[in-house]
């Protein structure tokens, strides 16, 4: 039984179109990034660098590729003129959504191969929102509503193929920030006076929805213990305790996620930008030779394991944290 959940289109793939759309690149300054990839920038660069959608250089020319798409579409009862190529910029913190380009696919060849997202220096809001970042989606959508047909796209706005890119100033997941828990905080949190640590997903937070950083999670550590850990942060015991706290935090969030009724329905693309997605991406790891597809497959596999068995999932977290080695070293200290 496969443990992965894949994004499946209800009406199958459009091979010629997919090959074309998946080869679209985003050029940020002089850097080209591919589908599902993201670029992390300095704030100043985020607000200043040119951003351009670059269509693939197809050997037989764009017009011929569009003709091939037309043939493929006709086999499914669609015409090139039924579709538009849309560029959408989305920034989650302020819920900004902008559409700098909506181009009928039948007119694409006349537009050239590059789409400047900052024409005439007029920078879209999403590309000025440096602290929250931006998701650039280039998609082929159904331009108008059609008669409902089983197995066929018919609703206006349905995407047939798309590529998504990320621009961010946010560093990837880098752990949790413990808060000191003194007597007053323990009383407020209604904990015993001698409580050691307390981890919780605060009321109202949904790790599967909320897109902000992982410091949404509240990790409280006894103030004296935290001060001692900080003063000896390089010691083996301190390292082992910090790693255990890291594992505890994961356990808390993953338990919360498993209790959500909609978790079963989620696929990687639904959650990749969320607090949960950042944590999964962190433990999935990434080697230099990996492409985004490799990373995505590992993330999907981990989500599958989490669905099946929390205990087994947590063993992956412990392995990532290298907890065994730290414990052995601390025992010998």
């Amino acid at each position: 039984m496969s443990l992965t959940t894949r994004e499946l289109r209800p009406f199958g793939d459009f091979e010629v179109m997919d090959e074309f759309v998946h080869a679209i690149r985003l050029k940020v300054g002089e850097t080209l990034i591919g589908r599902d990839d993201r670029i992390v920038l300095e704030e100043d660069h985020y607000r200043r660098l040119p951003v351009v959608v670059v269509l693939p250089q197809v050997s037989e020319g764009l017009r011929e590729t569009l003709d091939d798409m037309q043939t493929e579409l006709r086999e499914r009862g669609l015409e090139l003129s039924d579709l538009v190529l849309v560029v959408n910029l989305f920034s989650s913190y302020l819920k900004i959504s902008e559409f700098p380009y909506v181009i009928p696919l039948s007119e694409l060849a006349a537009h050239g191969s590059e789409f400047d997202l900052i024409p005439d220096g007029d920078r879209p809001k999403a590309l000025r929102a440096a602290r929250s970042g931006c998701r650039v989606e280039v998609a082929v959508l159904l331009a108008e509503q059609k008669s409902p047909t089983v197995g066929m796209p018919w609703r206006k706005g349905t995407w047939l193929s798309r590529s998504i890119f990320g621009l961010s100033c946010d560093v990837e997941f880098s752990g949790f920030t413990p808060r000191p828990m003194d007597a007053e905080a323990k009383a407020t949190l209604r904990l015993p006076e001698t409580a050691t640590r307390f981890v919780r997903v605060p009321p109202g937070i949904d790790p599967l929805v909320d897109e902000s950083s992982t410091d949404l999670l509240e990790m409280w550590v006894d103030a004296d213990l935290l001060a001692t850990l900080s003063s000896r942060d390089k010691s083996k015991v301190s390292t082992a305790i910090q790693k255990q706290l890291f594992v505890d935090a994961f356990s808390c969030v993953m338990s919360e996620v498993r209790s959500r009724p909609d978790f079963e329905d989620k696929v990687w693309s639904d959650v990749s930008d969320t607090m949960f997605g950042k944590m999964i991406r962190a433990i999935a790891g990434r080697s230099k030779s990996d492409g985004e597809d490799d990373l995505r497959i590992r993330c999907e596999t981990l989500i599958g394991i989490l669905r099946e068995d929390l205990g087994r999932f947590m063993s992956h977290v412990e392995a990532f944290a290298d907890l065994t080695d730290s414990m052995i070293q601390s025992l010998g200290e």
């Binding site: 989305f90 913190y93 819920k95 929250s132 989606e137 959508l141 949190l189 109202g204 949904d206």
Partner: protein, 234 residues
């Protein structure tokens, strides 16, 4: 543009002090970002003063309506600010403690009593932070400058928080407005859009985002789609 900000840890500590009844000076702790003309806070201060006077004189029957009306009144001022300012959580933290604390204390008395106040002020979660969620709510349903719909739905805390400001619908004003209008006019439906039904409707809309770019829908198309969804979720 130059504007005032507050660091996250400072904001959390100051909020804890305020909850404990201790005096704090937000101005003394606030930093400054940007260059050029400083953000003019006079309009904000005036609107907040008028609403505070109203609250003191006649306690509102519906807290949500009061918050929504205030959101609509402030919308124009928020919209006048550059995106770089609005995108800075430090600015929202500053606003929450410098100008909105009286409102936060009144609006969220219960969570504060239980010690759950950090999310209301630290601007980590936009749909939880009080001034920011008010801006997002007004922006989600504004038609031009008119965001009055934000203050027209009674008993709608969960509706705004769970089904509008927190999810992608908030980025598609035509769709958000269509949803809010149906909720506002629920008496015209065969059955009211109460909690469970509205959740089912919202879930269907959110799932649709997976396959459909709903931001492409204009006002009439959004209304038609929302009516269709409400009809199939009795």
């Amino acid at each position: 543009m130059r504007y005032r900000t507050l660091g996250k840890a400072t904001c959390q500590q100051m909020a804890a002090d305020l909850v404990a009844g201790r005096h704090v000076s937000v101005e003394a702790k606030a930093g400054s970002e940007g260059t050029g003309t400083i953000v003019d806070e006079e309009v904000l201060i005036t609107i907040l003063r008028l609403f505070r006077e109203e609250l003191d004189a006649i306690p509102p029957q519906d807290n949500e309506i009061f918050e929504g009306r205030l959101a609509a009144a402030l919308y124009g001022w928020f919209e006048s600010l550059p995106i770089e300012v609005l995108d800075d959580p430090g600015f929202w933290r500053y606003l929450s403690l410098r100008y909105f604390w009286w409102f936060i204390e009144w609006r969220e008395a219960e969570p504060i009593k239980k010690g759950n106040f950090t999310n209301l002020v630290d601007a980590t979660l936009p749909a939880e932070h009080i001034p920011l969620r008010m801006y997002l709510r007004a922006k989600a349903v504004a038609f031009g400058d008119d965001a009055s719909l934000a203050g027209q739905i009674p008993k709608s805390t969960d509706f705004w928080r769970s089904h509008i400001t927190r999810v992608r619908v908030a980025s598609a004003p035509d769709m958000a407005r269509a949803f809010a209008e149906i909720k506002r006019d629920e008496k015209e439906l065969d059955a009211p859009l109460k909690t469970e039904r509205v959740r089912r409707v919202a879930k269907r809309v959110n799932r649709m985002w997976s396959n459909v770019q709903l931001g492409m829908y204009d006002s009439a198309e959004s209304k038609k789609l929302m009516e269709e969804i409400v009809e199939i979720e009795p």
